[in-house]
Amino acid sequence: MSTSKESGKMKSIVFEVLRYDPEKGGVPHLQEFTVPLHKGMTVLDGLHWIKEHEDPTLAWRSSCRMGICGSCGMFINGLPRLACTNQITQLHSDRVVIKPLPNYDIIRDLVPDFDRLFDRHRSVKPYLIRRDRIEQNSPTREYFQSAEELQNYIQFAYCIKCGLCLSACPTAATSDDYVGPQALTQGWRYLADTRDEGIEEHSEALYSKHGVYRCHFAGACSQVCPKGVDPAMAIQLAKQAAFLKSLGKCQDRPGAPVTPPIENWVSEKQVPKAPAPTVVRES
């Protein structure tokens, strides 16, 4: 068979995986596995191979296999990356060293505890806040926003909450209080959204003692972001906005209005009726 021919030439690669058993506690240790390599194999594929052939107790978190869900963030060969979007050959190494994302507690093996990420994310109130709650809950029309205004925040809305930025951030390495690049970016995403009216609500955590001013532009968050969200830029823009505001150079913008009815809107009455059915179903 062709597969056995290929396996004769097949290269193998050593996986060193950090293991931690929450039942026993103690210090995590690295365990080696030899994994046969095939073309296009991702780090996640390698972990699946280990689980199927070597050790079914190996634990990690993953779901979509295509860089959308943000579940399989791991510390792979010295950088936080998604296991699913990184092919083993692209790591240019015969060893793949996989550890759980740093700056999060380890639940088991490669599974980090994301409570910290989600708690901080909640703290910036990452949702559209409007003064008119009735209109927001039972909308009559959409809020007006131009294509140019969309550009101000669309990049930051691409965040998949994979948590890589927080594990790369030097401030987060020592500070549990730091709001962190992910949440700060999401806070700015809403401040930059013209439809939002919750400037005070988002600003509270954003401009707190442990907010944007604890970022010193080490740039690691933007370097590791798998979606091009660029948290470092969002944080600097948030600082810029606060600075300009303090100089009186910019005012709090009013929330975007509800789109007015479009003139010459084709009413339901003017829409031509569908022709009568040509086939009549017998009951």
Binding site: E23, N103, D105, I154, P170, G219, Q223, V224, A232, M233
Partner: protein, 144 residues
């Protein structure tokens, strides 16, 4: 009983740039030079305070510091100042939202503010290097 393992990098997260970009090392050095300058500055306030007791007190203080150990220490503070100042100008500009570009729809391969402003970082380091070379020449060879 389930145990969580605390996996914060701690101070190594500040100092260890690892495989991250050059910016991360610039960050660590900025922090270290800042602390160094602050320590020197606090001492400097008291040392220059000896002027209160007249020229003799000042001269005896200067004689105390006139040895190779303090001379090298002074030079290190000078270098720390040069780095902190040049890198600081860059940081002020960046932290005021300049030099980071504008947000837009991300398209693959992704670029980011750190990559876009990399030439500024390199430029700042080149300026620092030139100043350091001149400072070394001035400090050890030109000044008698």
């Amino acid at each position: 009983m389930q145990h969580r393992y605390r996996n914060n990098l701690g101070l190594w997260g500040w100092l260890g740039g690892g495989r991250y970009g050059f910016d991360r090392y610039a960050y660590a050095l900025h922090r270290l030079t800042g602390l160094g300058i602050l320590a020197y500055f606090l001492m400097h306030i008291f040392v220059t305070g000896t002027r209160l007791n007249g020229p003799e007190a000042w001269e005896s203080a200067m004689n105390f510091f006139d040895n190779p150990l303090f001379r090298v220490g002074e030079f290190l503070v000078y270098l720390a100042f040069l780095y902190h100042a040049v890198n600081g100008i860059r940081l002020v500009l960046v932290e005021l939202g300049l030099l980071v570009g504008k947000p837009g729809l991300p398209s693959y391969p992704y670029s980011n503010s750190v990559i876009r402003h990399r030439p500024v970082l390199v430029g700042a380091m080149v300026i620092t290097a030139v100043l350091v070379l001149f400072a070394g020449a001035d400090f050890f060879f030109l000044t008698k």
